[in-house]
Amino acid sequence: MVEVLERLGWGVDFPENQTCCGQPAYNSGYWEEARAVARHFLRVFRDAEYVVLPSGSCASMLLHRYGELFRNEPEWLQAAEKLRPRVWEFSRFLLEVARVEDVGARFEGVVTYHDSCHALRELGVREGPRRLLSRVRGLELKEMQPAEECCGFGGTFAVKFPAVSTGMAQSKVKAILDSGADTVVSVDASCLMQIQGAMARAGHTIRGMHLAEILATR
């Protein structure tokens, strides 16, 4: 992601004291713990011009859940509200802020795009990554059916209900295999970990790559 953004002329900083947005705790019901981590996040990124996230899930947490989380803490609520307009999921940042579709990437391969749930349903990221991929030289995009069904990760769900989560991953793997692609792309690393985990266990060699990795390739 850093490479792509710099190639497009953006100055990128990686505040080294960053950790996590707090979503794992939030989604598991531990809002107090989530708040502590979220406060840390807000402190670290307070002065950023833009915060670009290579994860639809984290972006959605910042955009849609911080409000609820800090409902009774006006000071932090205000900090979250101030940060909100500067928070961008990576593909949307490219298309809507940087306003580019062709980032000058070249990638030889047949690629299928997995819609990450939070990016898709909470951020409306659907056509964007496909448009970006379609401009990559050498890349052939093949849709899987259905692309929009969850991979089954779901944070702690993956370890609380391993049979269900793995079953969902296996359905996803089948859809990917049926698409005929050799690479599966997503805008969320957690989906990729889930898909690759199930893929490797079944002995398949299809690559999983983040959209940013593809776009960084030349």
């Binding site: 850093v2 950790t19 598991s28 349903r121 993956a158 209900f161 985990g197």
Partner: protein, 478 residues
């Protein structure tokens, strides 16, 4: 989390025939719905309108129930309220005694499933016959509905053939068409002999005083018209203000449930048969059931779960429902809406795992015709179970683990070191993954759960931070 839960789930997931039944049926419902949708902007305007109407009605529920009651009563119907299933059964048993009734025909109603009405009426020595084909199958099999809209979704035609041969004493038929004929014949006799017809209600119209039944088979029409007495049992949340509001709700319900612009039969019933009318029941009773609904109404955060019109679309689109099916859910309502409303009826201390059995993918909310924020409600329920310190669901260590995790996440240096340690621990000389290098680690809860069906990602050769620092040093990052 109780590991037996997941083991039970895996029985369903490992049953190829059952998986095929669930996938093909829900898949067809998804496809039918998709092909029946109007332009997105139009659909959205219907959903918005339906939501507004439900919100308004529930905020003024006492007003609309009183209007409904007054209007229905003025036309000769009897309206009663019931707190729970016991009161409904008592009322019906009393009515049956008064009418010397023995046989009750029933059309599909989730509300009556919710209070196990059939069992209660059988205790009162009444014969109760389900007349919706799916419900009839489920009743013969002595099971509970697998799905809000398609109760026998899990049964193949061969299961039905076995069941009919065994219970109805008929020749074996494997074709759904022939099986349907058998059911028609058997149930027609019951309709004509029944003393009381029991139905649910899809909507109640306050200003008009009416009960609205939506169906495809004709069994609700028969149940409400053939016997002398019709008893409708409806949740208090079913009320809407005017007949005109139905236009939007009927369009949404048919499309969302089965992909029909309008279901085959919509009955609008405003009382018993009037003077001069050729047929229809002599008596109409409406039982308005609370059964925990007022508890949900009081919860502002999740009140919108009462907007539900029971279309079942959230089940069909739920990847978890499609894996585990309907019978692992602790109550009659399964899928996402079941996971949201069940804790209110049972209390969050019962089955506290329920709100966690979701990947929060949001497919349910995307299709909900009244736009219920189902994942949002699940998140709030999770918070409530944590707050209430419900045991069992969180494991002994989870709370501690999250506390430690949060502590660590606020200390970037330690966090980085922890990352390095894990990566060192997990890497062996050949650079292979965790699995081989640290087998002892795999016995630890979450890791064991993960690695039962998935590999862990190999640790990165170099952390992002290390790469970032190298870039800074080389001056590239500036």
């Amino acid at each position: 989390m109780d590991p037996s839960l997941d083991r039970n789930f895996s029985k369903t997931i490992g049953n190829a025939a059952l998986q095929e039944a669930i996938y093909s049926a829900t898949g067809r419902l998804v496809e039918k719905r998709r092909s029946a949708l109007p332009a997105p902007a139009v659909f959205e305007s219907w959903r918005e309108q339906a939501r507004l109407v439900k919100q308004h009605t529930l905020e003024n529920l006492d007003h609309y129930l009183e209007r409904l009651e007054a209007n229905l009563t003025a036309r000769g119907a009897k309206v009663v309220y019931a707190r729970g299933g016991g009161e409904v059964a008592d009322y019906l048993a009393g009515l049956a005694k008064e009418k010397e009734a023995r046989l009750v025909v029933k059309s599909k109603s989730m509300t009556t499933e919710e209070i196990h009405l059939n069992g209660l009426l059988e205790d009162a020595r009444l014969e109760v016959v389900e007349t919706d084909l799916g419900e009839f199958i489920v009743q013969l099999a002595r099971e509970r509905p697998y799905h809000i809209v398609a109760p026998a979704l899990h049964k193949t035609r061969y299961d039905v053939a076995d069941l009919f041969t065994r219970t109805l004493n008929v020749e074996r038929e494997n074709l759904p068409e022939k099986q349907t004929k058998i059911a028609r014949r058997v149930l027609r006799e019951k309709f004509l002999a029944a003393d009381i017809g029991v139905t649910g209600a899809n909507f109640l119209v306050a200003e008009s005083g009416a009960i609205v039944l939506v169906e495809n088979e004709g069994n609700a029409r028969l149940s409400s018209s053939a016997p002398r007495v019709h008893v409708a049992i409806a949740g208090i949340e079913k009320v809407i203000p005017r007949a005109q509001d139905l236009a939007v709700f009927l369009k949404l319900l048919g499309r969302s449930a089965t992909g029909q612009p309008l279901t085959v039969y919509t009955s609008y019933l405003s009382g018993p048969r009037r003077a001069g009318e050729l047929d229809g029941p002599d008596e109409l009773h409406l039982v308005l059931l609370d059964n925990g609904r007022t508890k949900l109404l009081a919860d502002r955060n999740k009140r919108e779960a009462l907007y539900c019109i029971r279309c079942g679309a959230c089940l069909n689109h739920c990847p978890v429902y499609r894996k585990i099916g309907g019978h692992h859910y602790p109550w009659v309502y399964s899928g996402p809406i079941g996971a949201v409303i069940t804790p209110h009826f049972m209390g969050i201390h019962e089955e506290p795992w329920l709100p966690y059995a979701s990947s929060l993918c949001g497919a349910c909310a995307e299709v909900c015709p009244v736009k219920i924020d189902l994942p949002g409600a699940l998140l709030k329920l999770r918070q409530e179970t944590v707050k209430a310190e419900v045991g069992g669901v969180h494991g002994r260590w989870e709370r501690l683990a999250f506390r430690f995790w949060a502590w660590l996440m606020c200390r970037p240096r330690l966090y980085e070191m922890a990352g390095l340690m894990i990566s060192m621990l997990s890497r062996d000389r050949e650079g292979a993954g965790w699995m081989r290098s640290a087998p002892w680690l795999m016995n630890f809860g979450p890791l064991r759960a993960w690695s039962a069906g998935r590999d862990l990602p190999p640790p990165p050769g170099r952390s992002f931070r290390a790469m970032w620092r190298a870039r800074l040093k080389s001056g590239k990052g500036d």
